[in-house]
C-alpha cells in the first residue's frame, strides 16, 4: 500500500466533512533491550578497540626514544638487517589497524550470527597482529642504542597474544548485535493520509534525529587523527600526514551524521547535517512518486549511518520508525525519524499539489 500522487485531473480539494483521521499511528514504543547482549556487544566493541589503543599508547610512550628509523627485520639471533622509517611505518600500520578495527566493530554490531562473530574476531586478530608487530619492533629498537644494534629477543612473541586477541573479540561478540526484546513485527509498512491542504497554503515540517554513537565515533576518530598528525609532523614525517588527514575527514564524515535535521517543504524532502550544515539527502517534490512509513531495519537498508543498498539510500540510526520516499525513477530514500507519520503526510500532500 502506498500513497501515490493522485491523478492530476483531480485537484486536491479542501476536505470537508471528513471524519477525523482514523489512521491510528502504529505503536512504536521501543522494545526492551536484552541487557546481557548489550553488555557483551559493548565489551566486544571495547575489546576490538584495544589493538588501536595499544598502538597509540606505545607510540606515545616509546615514540620519544625512537629515532627516524626503526628495525624491521631480523635473520636469526643477530642484530636487525632491515629498517624502515619510524613514523611512516607507524602511519601505515595505524591506518591498517584503524580500518580493521572499524570492520571488527561494525561486525560486532551486526546481527548475522556466526558470520558476524567470525568477521569481528578475524578483523580483530589481524588488527592485533599488525599493532603488536609494530609495537614489537618499536620496543626492540628502543631497547638498543641504535636501530642497527637492535636485537629481536623476546619481542616477536608479542604477535601471538595480538593474533589471539581476535578469539576474545569473537567470543564476546554475540552475533546478535544488541537485540531488542521482543522482536517486533517488521512488516509494518503503512500508507499515509496526506495532510489537508488549503490552496496557497505553505507547509514546513521539520524534525531532528541523530545518534550519540556517531558523535562519539566521529570525535574519537578526529581526535586520533589530530594525535597521529601532530606526532607525524613533530617527527618530521610530514609526507605521511596525508594519512592523518584522511582519518580526520573520515571522523568528520561520521560526526556529520551525529545530529541531522529532516525538513519537508516546498524544497522537497531534505536531510541536512545539523552539526556541519551539509545536505546529505534530497528528493525534490516533483520527483516524489510515493511516501510511506515503515520501521527501518538496518539489515535491509545496508546498516547504520548513511547507507546505500539495493532498497535505496537511507539514514538509519537503528531499528526505528522512519519515512520512505520513493522517487519516480524507482529509487528510494529512507530516514529514521520520530513522528514519521506526520512528516510523511506533509510530504504526500505537498507532492500531490
Amino acid at each position: 500500500m502506498t500513497t501515490d500522487r493522485p491523478d492530476p485531473s483531480t485537484p486536491d480539494e479542501p476536505e470537508t466533512g471528513t471524519a477525523p483521521a482514523d489512521h491510528a499511528p502504529a505503536d512504536h514504543a521501543p522494545a526492551g533491550v536484552d541487557g546481557a547482549a548489550l553488555l557483551r556487544t559493548s565489551s566486544a566493541v571495547v575489546a576490538a578497540l584495544a589493538p588501536a589503543a595499544l598502538l597509540v599508547v606505545v607510540a606515545l610512550v616509546v615514540g620519544p626514544r625512537l629515532g627516524d628509523t626503526i628495525a624491521r627485520h631480523w635473520s636469526g639471533d643477530g642484530p636487525a638487517d632491515g629498517f624502515s622509517g619510524t613514523w611512516s611505518s607507524f602511519a601505515v600500520v595505524a591506518t591498517i589497524v584503524a580500518a580493521l578495527t572499524a570492520v571488527s566493530i561494525v561486525a560486532a554490531l551486526t546481527r548475522r550470527g556466526r558470520p558476524s562473530r567470525l568477521i569481528a574476531g578475524g578483523a580483530a586478530s589481524f588488527a592485533g597482529l599488525a599493532a603488536c608487530t609494530w609495537v614489537a619492533t618499536a620496543l626492540a629498537t628502543a631497547a638498543a642504542p641504535t636501530p642497527e644494534e637492535a636485537v629481536a629477543g623476546w619481542t616477536p612473541a608479542l604477535t601471538l597474544p595480538g593474533l589471539a586477541w581476535g578469539v576474545v573479540v569473537g567470543w564476546l561478540a554475540t552475533g546478535s548485535g544488541v537485540r531488542a526484546l521482543p522482536d517486533e513485527e517488521l512488516d509494518d509498512r503503512a500508507s499515509v493520509r496526506p495532510a489537508d491542504l488549503r490552496p496557497g497554503e505553505r507547509l514546513a515540517w521539520s524534525g531532528t534525529t541523530g545518534s550519540p554513537v556517531f558523535v562519539v565515533m566521529g570525535s574519537v576518530l578526529m581526535a586520533l587523527a589530530i594525535v597521529v598528525g601532530v606526532v607525524l609532523f613533530a617527527t618530521g614525517a610530514s609526507s605521511v600526514v596525508v594519512h592523518a588527514a584522511v582519518l580526520f575527514l573520515a571522523g568528520a564524515a561520521v560526526l556529520a551524521l551525529g545530529r541531522v535535521r529532516l525538513t519537508v517543504d516546498r524544497r522537497g524532502v531534505r536531510l541536512v547535517s545539523a552539526l556541519l550544515g551539509i545536505r546529505l539527502l534530497r528528493v525534490r517534490l516533483a520527483d516524489v512518486a510515493g511516501v510511506e512509513t515503515e520501521t527501518l531495519d538496518p539489515l535491509s537498508w545496508g546498516g547504520w549511518g548513511l547507507r546505500v543498498s539495493k532498497r535505496g539510500t537511507a539514514y538509519v540510526t537503528g531499528r526505528r520508525p522512519g519515512i520512505v520516499v520513493r522517487r519516480r525513477d524507482g529509487s528510494a530514500v529512507a530516514v529514521t525519524i520520530d513522528d514519521a507519520e506526520s512528516a510523511a503526510s506533509v510530504a504526500a500532500a505537498l507532492a500531490a499539489r
Partner: protein, 116 residues
C-alpha cells in the same frame, strides 16, 4: 514540528509563525529543549523573508517560550501553561465536533470570527 502559513489570511505572516509554534508547544508537537530550524532555513522553507521569521522568534523569546543564542539558534525553554493547554484541547475538541457536523476548520473559523 509543522508550520502552516496561509498567505491569504489577514493575520500577518510573523504572527502566523508565532501562532503555529505556540500551538506546537501546546499540543506537544514541539518539546522543551527542541531546537527550532534556523531563521534562514525556515524562511527558505516557507518562501518568506528571514526577518519575518526573526520577528516571530523574537516575539516568542519575549514571551519566554524560546531562547535565542548566537550559534545555537532558537531552543524551546518553556512548555505551555495549563490554561493555555486546556484552551487548545477545547479548541481541538470543537474542531472534531464541527467535522462530525460537516463543518470544515476554515468555516468554523469564520463562525468564530462572526461572534466577536
Amino acid at each position: 514540528m509543522l508550520i502552516r502559513l496561509d498567505p491569504a489570511s489577514e493575520m500577518p505572516l510573523a504572527d502566523q509563525v508565532v501562532t503555529q509554534i505556540r500551538r506546537g508547544i501546546a499540543d506537544g508537537g514541539i518539546e522543551i529543549g527542541e531546537r527550532l530550524p534556523s531563521a534562514r532555513d525556515l524562511a527558505a522553507a516557507l518562501a518568506i523573508n528571514m526577518h519575518t521569521v526573526l520577528r516571530a522568534y523574537d516575539s516568542l523569546r519575549t514571551s519566554g517560550l524560546i531562547e535565542l543564542r548566537r550559534g545555537r539558534g532558537a531552543v524551546v525553554i518553556a512548555g505551555a501553561d495549563a490554561p493555555t493547554t486546556a484552551l487548545y484541547d477545547a479548541a481541538a475538541a470543537l474542531v472534531r465536533d464541527a467535522a462530525r457536523l460537516g463543518i470544515a476548520p476554515a468555516d468554523l473559523a469564520t463562525i468564530i470570527r462572526g461572534m466577536t
